[in-house]
Amino acid sequence: MSSDLTDLYQHVILDHNRRPRNRGRIPTANRVAHGDNPTCGDQCSVFLRLEGDRIADISFDGSGCAISQASASLMTTQVKGKTAAEARALYDHFHDIVTTGREPEEISDVAAFAGVHAFPARIKCATLGWHAFLNALKDDPAPATTENTPD
C-alpha cells in the first residue's frame, strides 16, 4: 500500500467507517437535511435537535465511500453539544485541513482527514456530511449538493 493511501485511510477513518457513531434517525430531531453528491452517488442525511442555539443531539444516515461515511460520523461526534457558531468554526477548520493538507497543531481525530488533500476527487466525499449539517443548521430545505460548491 502506498503511504499516500495509508495516510488517507488512517485508522481513524477505517474505524469510523466500520463502527459509525450516531448513525440512524433520532426521533427528537427538529431539523433534517439531506446531502448528495450526484457524481459519486454518495448520500447523507443529517438529523438535528437544535435547542436554542445549541446542537443538543445529532445523527446521520446514508451511503457512500469510507471517507464520506467516516467524515459524517466524526462530524456528529464533533458538533454534538456545540453552539451553531462553534460548529461552523469546526467546519472551517475541517475544510482547511482537507483542502490544504495542513495538519492541525493539536492532535485530533480530524487530522486523519489531512490525507484527503492528496486525492482532490475525494474532497467532496469528505465534506458531504458537513454540507448536509450546515443546511440543517440553516433550515434550508434544498438538498445540499457538492456539485458546484467551491469544495
Partner: protein, 407 residues
C-alpha cells in the same frame, strides 16, 4: 490485418506508469484508448486538408468534403448500412438518441402511446425518452431484468408489446451487467408488432460485428470514442425512409434547402440533421478507427473480449465476499462487482494506487442499481490491448484491498 502481436505498441498512452506501476487500463467501457493511426489521421487532416466542407469549391474544401463524406461512407460500411445517407454524424450515442427521441418521437408520439425500454438502459437511453414522454404525453414501460444475472425477461416481451407501444429502445450490450441482448430477435419481435426499434450500440460497436441489416433495426446509435475513435463524434444510423420523414431537430447552416426571413425548407437526410459546421476533423479520425478495427478483424476482437470477460468473471469469483453481476456464461468484455463492506469508490482509489484504472459508481444506471439494491458497483472493462495477465494484477490488488478494509 493489423498485428495482434505487438498491439500494445499501437497505443502510445499505454506506455506509462500510474502511481509508480505500469498502467493497467480497465476503463474501456467509459472510453477506449486511441491507436497511433487514429491520432495521426487527425493531425494529418489539420496539417494538410482542413477547410470547411460543402458549399466550398476550392481545393482544400473539396479535399475536406471528400474526407468527411468518405468517413460517412466508411462508417456506413462499418455497420453495413444500405447507403451513406443513412448515417447522421452526431457527438455520440447520447446525441444520437436525443435526436431520435426529439425528432422522430416529437412527430410520432401522442398521449396514450407507450415507449418501451428495458430496466438496464443507460441514462442516455432513458432520460431522452422521459423528456419526450413529458412533451408528448406518452408513457414509459420497461422490460424487466431478472436480477443479478442481468438477463432481460424475454417471455414478458410479448405481453409488453401491446398496440399502444410505438417504439422499443434497448441497449445491445449493457455497460453495467455485461449482458449481450439478442438484438436481431428483439427487433424481429418489435417489427412484428409494428414497433419502431432504436438500438443503443455504445458498448457493442467497438467489440463485435454490428450489422444493421442483419439486425434489421430502424435506428442504431453509437459513439466513436468507445471504438478507438476520438471524442466529439459518433453517429446515428437510421433507415432512410424514416429519416427522410422526420422533421429537423436543430436549425442552422448546412441543413436548409431554402431560407426566408419567416420560413425555411430542409434538405433531405443526413444533411437535415447536421446543422452548422460538422465535426469533420473527428469524423475523418473515426473513419481511421473503422479501418483499425477491421484490420484487427471484428470477429477476432469479439473472441478476445469475450475470453477476457469470462476469465475475469472466473478469477474474480474467487475473492471472498464478492458479488458479481451479469450472466455467468456468454458475456461482453467487462465484469462488474460489489462488496457489502467496501464501497466501490474506495476500491477504485486502492486499485489506482496499483496503477489500475477501474470505474466505480452507478455507471449511469441508477434505476437498475436501485432495483438490485446496490448504490454502485466497480467495473473492469476490456478492449483489444488488454491481457489475461492484467486480470491477475487486478485480482491481486482487489484481494489486498478487501483485506485492508476487513482488517
Amino acid at each position: 490485418m493489423n498485428s495482434w502481436k505487438n498491439i500494445r505498441d499501437d497505443f502510445p498512452i499505454l506506455n506509462q506508469e500510474a502511481n509508480g506501476h505500469p498502467l493497467v487500463y480497465l476503463d474501456n467501457a467509459a472510453t477506449t484508448q486511441k491507436p497511433r493511426a487514429v491520432i495521426d489521421a487527425l493531425s494529418r487532416f489539420y496539417e494538410r486538408d482542413n477547410a470547411n466542407v460543402h458549399r466550398g469549391l476550392h481545393t482544400l474544401s473539396m479535399r475536406a468534403t471528400a474526407g468527411y463524406e468518405g468517413a460517412r461512407a466508411r462508417v456506413a460500411a462499418f455497420v453495413n448500412a444500405a447507403a451513406p445517407e443513412e448515417i447522421v454524424f452526431t457527438r455520440g450515442t447520447t446525441e444520437s438518441i436525443n435526436l431520435v427521441a426529439a425528432s422522430w418521437g416529437g412527430a410520432n408520439l401522442k398521449p396514450g402511446d407507450v415507449i418501451l425500454l428495458t430496466e438496464m438502459e443507460h441514462h442516455s437511453n432513458l432520460v431522452p425518452w422521459q423528456l419526450v414522454a413529458k412533451r408528448t404525453g406518452a408513457t414509459l414501460r420497461f422490460v424487466p431484468v431478472n436480477g443479478d444475472e442481468g438477463l432481460l425477461d424475454l417471455p414478458s416481451l410479448d405481453r409488453l408489446l401491446t398496440p399502444e407501444v410505438k417504439v422499443f429502445a434497448f441497449t445491445h450490450v449493457s455497460n453495467t451487467l455485461g449482458t449481450i441482448n439478442p438484438a436481431a430477435a428483439l427487433c424481429a419481435r418489435a417489427r412484428n408488432a409494428g414497433v419502431v426499434t432504436v438500438v443503443d450500440a455504445a458498448q457493442s460497436i467497438g467489440h463485435m460485428p454490428v450489422d444493421v441489416r442483419a439486425m434489421d433495426c430502424d435506428f442504431l446509435a453509437f459513439s466513436g470514442h468507445k471504438m478507438a475513435g476520438v471524442t466529439g463524434i459518433g453517429a446515428l444510423y437510421g433507415r432512410r425512409a424514416l429519416l427522410d420523414a422526420m422533421p429537423p431537430w436543430q436549425g442552422g447552416g448546412g441543413m436548409i434547402a431554402h431560407v426566408d426571413f419567416l420560413e425555411s425548407r430542409w434538405k433531405p437526410a443526413p444533411e437535415r440533421f447536421e446543422a452548422g459546421t460538422p465535426n469533420f476533423g473527428d469524423a475523418v479520425a473515426l473513419g481511421a478507427a473503422c479501418d483499425y478495427l477491421d484490420g484487427l478483424g471484428r470477429a477476432e476482437i469479439q473472441r478476445h473480449g469475450a475470453a477476457l470477460g469470462r476469465r475475469a468473471y472466473e478469477v474474480l469469483s474467487g475473492i471472498p465476499g464478492i458479488r458479481l453481476l451479469g450472466p455467468r456464461g456468454e458475456r461482453a468484455a467487462l465484469v462488474s462487482f460489489s462488496f457489502a463492506d467496501v464501497h466501490a469508490h474506495d476500491v477504485v482509489t486502492f486499485a489506482d494506487q496499483d496503477g489500475i484504472a477501474l470505474r466505480g459508481g452507478h455507471h449511469c444506471n441508477q434505476p437498475l442499481m436501485k432495483k438490485l439494491g446496490l448504490t454502485g458497483t466497480t467495473r473492469a472493462s476490456f478492449f483489444v490491448y488488454n491481457t489475461e495477465k492484467e486480470i491477475e494484477v487486478l485480482a491481486a490488488s482487489l484481494r489486498r484491498t478487501v483485506k485492508f478494509f476487513r482488517g
